[in-house]
């Protein structure tokens, strides 16, 4: 049957899968993890919108505390008879594995939809490969791979149909990002066909097997050696039946919709001699390549594996032409130490058995290799390289393709000039900023074009590793035939650069093919622009004979009130220049898309975008390209020549988008990276930067305290140091008494500033005569400011670093003189978390160890290319690591265990060596108080002296042993850092255990009240009445009071802080927590873009959160009991503001008040009531007398 005329749509793979999964299930147990989160979010949204499944019933969605929890809930729901599904990836799948064995062992039908993603090894990666599903391949789940968006939609249904029939649970997987996030044109399966695929009889059978006290059974017994083995073998026939069941389901679907699939689909020459075997999106790349090569007469083919488990050797052999002489298995995973990766091993076994049992005459040569780990782009040139390798008499086994392995020489040579793209496919690339709306507009363009009768479109989007000022590269293809090509564009017929400054940073025209069109958003006119381009760009334009157009979209957007959103303007230009659609038709469609996209936000927004479209083309000009290069400057290198070797050879190329070219030999073998490399990345993303009015400044330190990116620095120094200061270097006499010759200076790393403006908001010093002028003010950044900034900062850096022992740590003013050892991180502009992290680094940086939970903080702290943790002038600084999301408390506790153990060892060895190194020194070291900075400095000096003595004791075993742990003699500051998703949900069990451990360890929870890193899903910290993903209708339960839970232990130091409301209390809490010789936990209010606020108002929102009593500031210090004081201190006054006056400044609350006013009013009232009640409880605690009874009353035997 020909393909049925179905509803054509454009969507990404996640959406395509979610459409099916939602329709054929009753329960979804979910937890967010990239790149699968959108499937769960869609399911939640559809439930909120009242959308029903194919039986007309509601779907129950339950967000859990972790994937482990989701798997448990799913398991229970299956046992209770509901059709249940989940969506996950990577580490999430790992947490599900224990339940997967159970679910498969119990023959419970379910489908886990997996956006396959790399597992964290020496580094985390959010990108796609098969290491997660391969790690779960022994669970007993069937594994079905989809290679494209269309397939993911179709095979999702096949999986659900087959699991019901076979009773074997399925992992349906598709490539994370490449398929989950690629937008493509597909034909939706009509609901009646979905219905036809799912047998109601099988559904009822599943229900009949459910646990039911009306006819009770037991499942999940414990077995002994006598029968366990047999019970494992008892399921064999079910697994054996799966291939046929799946093929039947594929055939049935094929009959219904006209798209046909096989367990192993073969493409290529019928008499192929060389064949590849692989699965996932790479199979589509290989299919296109072999088609091209076969058409050119090469005897090549490819087998796309769809059902990988159970592995049907019979079906594989049937698919493989008898003519085949050599086969290569390509695995998108790595199994160190194995003789080959899993698919290779299966292939070898299948062929060997086939030959041995006479089903196949000859044994082809078989090689296996790895490709595409962590979404490494896999294109036709790599496919050809493997096929070419198969021609060789001695082809390489265990090869890699797509990298340069200059260590073990596993990699194949690739001829990058080879490609298979058809000429009738328009290939367009767009370089934009996250904030300018480029990606959103391109997603619309894909839809606009694909909705046009005979056209197909594909969109894939590449994001960089920063959350602010991020570069986005959009890869769009349009053509008359369905578009496979799941790889990045190699040669583009249209290139648009939506930000002029990229011309000096990125090789935008690298992929432009000869005669391509180049559209540049330029503040310079068509006549001026040429001279503002670097030489290499001019050369590319001339050599490639590019048609070059400019538009000042930035000014145009500003004029019509679109701010920085140039998207609709540039989209209009794209359609006008590319000619993909007739111009008038394109404009009408853009407007229709605008109407659709923005009408939910109101007429004003629609009208502005219309105005952008209408004014666009009259500002678009073609540039007359000169014949010769004339520019007198070149695109500067990413890092200067004087940067350290590692930065030049590894960090720099990564920053330059050339990381793919870095050979294996340059990459650290164990994930260890130098700190401090963020300082080499001058991103220059801010339009506005702060300038200082030294005459108005009161030197309070508030600005640098709140700066999320450590851009603002302060020093005091002797006046004499000013000699040689560059013109424009500002300083003022320090305003402390007793320092007549001391100067104070505030300086800015303007190239690292994100322009958030929090410093100005925090500045309390206002001019008495100039309206609106403070001691720190934002100004438009221009080249002069950058040049001045470099000069003055250069001088500032050379000024002596302030002696930590002379700085007053007790107040915010003093802290500004402590060097931040966390700088220029990748967080959002105006981030509400990073000021806390920076403070940690300032106070304890040179002896700090950080265990960081996965989440925003691990990403802005540790997402390459650069590293924001850095060192002081002595080379000391925070040592940082991220283990996982779920285990961070335990991980950090491990730091403490090792430190304590080695400290004991060091102390005992020291005592043993006392005669050799001197009793006085040993006693001084062992009895040293190490609380104040001067004491710590003294101890460092003593340990330094000890080291010198130990070196003299060469050959002395005890001395050598002591040398290996001697650094522990300086007190370590160990911090467990993470967000609320970790602390309240996934890591709560471990956190609780650490709270109970009594060890000297500190915990910082930066609470944004949602899973910020994965896009704002609700956590147990999400407040009542706020909307979030997975709480689209507003959270209906109160947030967890982690502070009181911790207080209940009685011996844990607990603080609740908000740096924007009371920086001094924040500082005190950090210092007290660190000094407390037990467990300390700080809960830190962190404003976030997921709250729906203008981030500039972050500080005032913090103030309102405190003033309304929503976020009471408190400190519970068990040490106070020992000195007869009450341990519980309430640091913020009684509520003076209504909760509404805080909450309704935030979109997360306000949206509910508009969309569901009655619900919002009810929740608001409830929230207000709870705030007052809680405050009253806190007040009662604060009024309790000191003594053991007080803390006990607040503990288990107390009020809660």
């Amino acid at each position: 049957m020909a393909e049925k005329q179905a509803k054509k749509a454009t969507m990404d793979g996640n959406t395509a899968v979610a459409h099916i999964a939602y329709k054929v299930n009753e329960v979804c147990a979910i937890f967010p993890i990239t790149p699968s989160s959108p499937m769960a979010e869609l399911a939640d949204e559809w439930t909120s919108a009242g959308i029903k499944n194919i039986w007309g019933n509601s779907v129950s969605i339950q967000e859990m505390q972790s994937e482990g929890g989701a798997a448990g809930a799913l398991h229970g729901s299956l046992q209770a008879g509901a059709l249940t599904t989940t969506f996950t990836a990577s580490q999430g799948l790992m947490l599900m594995i224990p339940n997967m064995f159970k679910i498969a062992g119990e023959l419970s039908p379910t489908v886990f939809h997996v956006a396959a993603r790399a597992l964290a090894t020496n580094a985390l990666s959010i990108f796609g490969d098969h290491s997660d599903v391969m790690a779960a391949r022994s669970t007993g789940f069937a594994m079905l791979a989809s290679n494209s968006v269309q397939e993911a939609h179709d095979l999702a249904l096949v999986a659900h149909a087959a699991t019901l029939e076979s009773r074997v649970p399925f992992m349906h997987f598709f490539d994370g990002f490449r398929t989950s996030h690629e937008i493509n044109t597909l034909n939706m399966i009509p609901e009646e066909d979905i219905r036809a695929m799912i047998s109601d009889d099988l559904v009822r059978e599943h229900r009949a097997r459910a646990l039911n006290p009306e006819h009770p059974v037991m499942r999940g017994t414990a077995m002994n050696p006598d029968v366990f083995f047999q019970s494992r073998e008892a399921t064999n026939k079910f697994h054996a039946a799966v291939p046929e069941i799946v093929q039947n389901a594929m055939d049935k679907l094929g009959k219904l919709i006209g798209r046909h699939y096989k367990l192993f689909d073969y493409y290529g020459a019928p008499d192929a001699e060389r064949v590849l075997v692989l699965m996932g999106s790479g199979a589509d790349v290989a299919r296109d390549t072999v088609r091209d090569l076969a058409a050119k007469g090469e005897k090549v083919g490819v087998i796309a594996v769809r059902l990988y488990r159970p592995f049907s050797a019979e079906h594989l052999l049937a698919a493989l032409p008898e003519t085949v002489k050599s086969v290569a298995a390509l695995d998108r995973t790595k199994e160190p130490g194995a003789t080959g990766e899993p698919l290779y091993l299966d292939l070898v076994a299948a062929l060997a058995q086939g030959v041995a049992n006479g089903k196949r005459k000859t044994m082809p040569r078989i090689i296996g290799g790895r490709y595409g780990l962590s979404s490494k782009d896999f294109d036709p040139s790599q496919v050809k390289a493997v096929l070419d390798e198969l021609k060789k008499p001695e082809p390489k086994n265990n090869f890699t393709v797509g990298i340069n392995d200059d260590v073990m020489h596993t990699s194949l040579e690739v001829d990058h000039s080879y490609g298979t793209e058809a000429d009738d496919v328009v290939r367009a690339m767009f370089y934009g900023l996250g904030a300018d709306g480029t990606v959103g507009a391109n997603k619309n363009s894909v839809k606009i074009i694909a909705e046009d009768g005979g056209r197909y479109a594909q969109g894939y989007f590449v994001y960089d590793s920063h959350k602010s000022g991020a570069l986005t590269v959009s890869h769009l293809r349009f053509g008359p035939e369905p578009i496979g090509a799941p790889y990045l564009i190699r040669t583009a017929s249209f290139v648009a650069c939506h930000q002029f400054h990229f011309m000096n940073k990125v090789d935008v025209l690298a992929q432009a093919r000869e005669g391509a069109t180049f559209l540049l958003n330029s503040p310079f006119s068509k006549d001026e622009v040429w001279n503002h381009l670097p030489r290499s760009v001019q050369k590319q334009i001339i050599d490639k004979k590019l048609k070059f157009f400019v538009i000042d979209a930035t000014s145009a957007a500003r004029e019509v009130g679109l701010g920085s959103r140039t998207n609709t303007i540039l989209q209009t230009c794209f359609f006008a220049l590319s000619g993909v659609l007739p111009r008038d038709e394109a404009i009408a469609k853009i407007k229709a898309a605008i109407e659709k996209t923005y009408s939910k936000k109101g007429r004003a927004v629609v009208e502005k975008n219309f105005a952008g479209v209408d004014g666009a083309l009259e500002r678009l000009y073609e540039v007359e390209v000169p014949d010769a290069v004339s520019s007198n400057f070149e695109r500067p290198p990413a890092v200067p020549a004087d940067a350290p070797e590692f930065v030049r050879e590894v960090t720099g190329p990564m920053m330059d988008n050339l990381g793919d070219l870095i050979p294996v030999s340059k990459i650290p073998v164990d994930g260890t990276y130098p700190t401090g490399t963020a300082a080499w990345e001058k991103r220059n993303i801010a339009d506005e930067v702060p300038i200082w009015r030294e005459d108005l400044c009161i030197q309070c330190g508030q600005c640098s305290f709140v700066c999320p990116h450590s851009v603002i620095r302060s020093k005091y120094f002797d006046k004499a140091e000013l000699e040689g200061a560059p013109g424009g270097f500002k300083s003022a006499p320090i305003n402390s008494r007793g320092y007549p010759d001391a100067q104070f200076s505030l300086a800015f790393y303007v190239e690292d500033c994100t322009g958030c403006g929090l410093c100005v908001e925090a500045c309390p010093a206002q001019s008495a005569v100039e309206p609106g002028v403070k001691a720190i003010n934002m100004t438009l950044k221009d080249e002069l400011i950058v040049a001045d900034g470099r000069k003055t900062m250069g001088f500032f850096e050379k000024l002596p670093v302030n002696d930590r022992a002379r700085v007053d740590f007790a107040n915010v003013r003093g802290v500004q003189f402590l060097q931040p050892l966390f700088e220029f991180n990748g967080a959002c502009a105006g981030c509400g978390e990073t000021p806390y992290v920076k403070l940690l680094s300032q106070l304890f940086g040179n002896r700090l160890m950080v265990a960081n939970a996965t989440g925003c903080s691990s990403i802005y702290s540790g997402n390459l290319p650069v590293t924001p943790w850095t060192k002081d002038k002595d080379g000391r600084g925070p040592a940082w690591s991220n283990s996982l999301f779920e285990d961070n408390a335990e991980f950090g506790l491990g730091f403490r265990l090792a430190a304590d153990n080695h400290l004991d060892l060091a102390q005992s060895l020291l005592k043993e060596l006392a005669p050799q190194v001197g009793e006085d020194l040993v006693n001084a070291i062992l009895t040293a108080p190490q609380i104040h900075e001067s004491e710590l400095a003294d101890q460092r000096e003593r340990v330094g002296a000890l080291k010198v003595k130990l070196l003299d004791l060469k050959g002395n075993k005890a001395a050598e042993s002591l040398m290996s742990v001697v650094d522990q003699l300086v007190r370590r500051s160990i911090w467990i850092v993470g967000g609320d998703g970790w602390a309240y949900d996934i890591g709560y069990g471990g956190l609780d255990h650490v709270l109970a451990s009594g060890r000297n360890i500190n915990i910082l929870v930066m609470d944004t009240e949602v899973y910020s890193n994965t896009g704002g899903q609700a956590s147990k910290a999400t407040p009542l009445g706020a909307i979030a993903k997975f709480a689209a209708a507003g959270k209906r339960t109160q947030r967890k009071d982690l502070a009181l839970q911790a207080v209940s232990y009685g011996n844990v130091y607990v603080a609740q802080v908000a740096f924007g409301a009371n920086p001094q209390q924040t500082l005190q809490a950090f210092r007290e927590a660190e000094a407390y010789p037990g467990v300390s936990i700080i809960l830190a209010y962190s404003h976030c873009i997921s709250h729906g606020i203008d981030m500039k108002t972050g500080l005032s929102q913090q103030q309102k959160a405190v003033a309304s009593g929503y976020w009471p500031l408190l400190r519970y210090d068990p040490a106070l009991r020992d000195v007869g004081k009450a341990p519980f201190r309430l640091d913020s006054p009684r509520p003076t503001l209504k909760f509404k006056d805080y909450a309704y400044n935030e979109l997360r609350y306000r949206a509910l008040s508009v969309n569901r006013p009655e619900d919002a009013a009810m929740l608001l009232e409830e929230a207000q009531k709870q705030i007052l009640e809680k405050y009253q409880t806190y007040e009662e605690f604060a009024q309790m007398d000191a003594g053991p009874d007080a803390s006990r009353a607040m503990g288990a035997g107390g009020k809660f």
Partner: protein, 330 residues
């Protein structure tokens, strides 16, 4: 005592109207006002600029951070998107129209032509019995002539009047070269009533922080002289209802406006100061006052001291000024 009053063709049980205030933002507040005897109630204004600004803000907040980072292509569920529009307001109109026994007048505040008509139609559909257009326009563009500004008012009025069947009252400020003539033109453009006067949001200056202070002060009785004058001048001379607003604190103030010729008298500040129950004080006070003088209805005093009826109309004109000065001299 027959307190009935005709305003914009609507029959009111008495001439006292609660003008827009925060009390009227919730149905409970409106009910209290009605329960305390108001003749009619005007709902809080829809502010055109507020709607536009909030729409843009929502767009910016939802957009910020989206499509920038691979792990989080958005930060809000689709349900967070909302068009801040008149729907919440219209729900209030609908509820008020259904639950209150007194006429419900909806109010619109804006300065441009766009948007007005749709909002007005929606208000009509939601059950409002009249519309008050509050035209609040400070011509800070000093190249605009007086005629330009007046035309703008007239355009707004005629576009709204032609879009709805409801009676439309226009609330204006006093700052026209010829306020009376302008009043007449507004009536010609279709206004069924004039509300004198709105109080422009005049910013104050904060000398400590060197900033503009945009907070609003409640009106005081001393401010009622200006509307009193123009009510007096216009009463009986234009074919439209006249509503007096500004500075009504006591029964005496109500009576003054009626004597000048107001059909209805509106109050906001007094209700905010003393609570919705103050409406009853005014209604009862007026009733008592009329009763004490043996009068049968407010109509008996309406316009008795208007320019048209007063024995010495020059008192409304320059003579009044001279008299004041003479008064000071004596």
């Amino acid at each position: 005592m027959d307190m009935k009053t005709n305003y914009l063709g609507l029959s009111l049980r008495n001439p006292l109207i609660a003008s827009p205030s925060p009390i009227g933002q919730q149905i409970d507040g409106l009910k209290q006002i009605a329960d305390h005897g108001a003749g009619a109630v005007i709902l809080p204004s829809i502010f055109e600029e507020q709607i536009t600004r909030e729409q843009e803000m929502v767009d910016a907040l939802i957009g910020s951070g989206s499509e920038s980072f691979g792990e989080a292509l958005s930060y809000f569920p689709a349900e967070a998107e909302y068009a801040f529009d008149s729907s919440g307001y219209l729900r209030l109109v609908e509820q008020a129209a259904k639950e209150l026994e007194i006429p419900v007048i909806a109010s619109l505040n804006g300065t441009t032509k766009s948007g007005w008509i749709d909002y007005a139609k929606d208000m009509e559909a939601a059950g409002a019995q009249a519309i008050e257009l509050n035209i609040f326009y400070v011509p800070s563009d000093i190249s605009l002539s007086g005629a330009d500004v007046e035309q703008r008012y007239l355009d707004v009025v005629s576009s709204v009047v032609s879009a709805v069947k409801l009676p439309v009252a226009v609330k204006i400020g006093p700052y026209f070269s010829s306020t009376g003539h302008m009043a007449g033109r507004l009536v010609e453009a279709g206004a069924k009533g004039l509300v004198l006067f709105n109080r422009f949001y005049q910013p104050d200056i904060d000398p400590l922080n060197l900033s503009l202070d945009t907070s609003l002060e409640l009106s005081k009785p001393a401010e009622m002289r200006l509307p009193l004058l123009w009510i007096g001048v216009l009463s009986g001379r234009i074919n439209a209802s006249l509503a007096a607003t500004t500075g009504v604190e006591t029964t005496d103030d109500v009576i003054k406006y009626l004597l000048a010729g107001a059909d209805t008298v509106m109050t906001t500040s007094a209700l905010l100061r003393h609570g919705p129950q103050h409406m009853q004080v005014l209604v009862d006070g007026l009733t008592e006052w009329l009763k004490a003088r043996g009068l049968a209805s407010p109509a008996d005093i309406r316009g008795k001291l208007s320019h048209a009826k007063v024995e010495n109309p020059e008192a409304y004109e320059r003579a009044n000024y001279i008299k004041v000065l003479q008064g000071f001299e004596s």
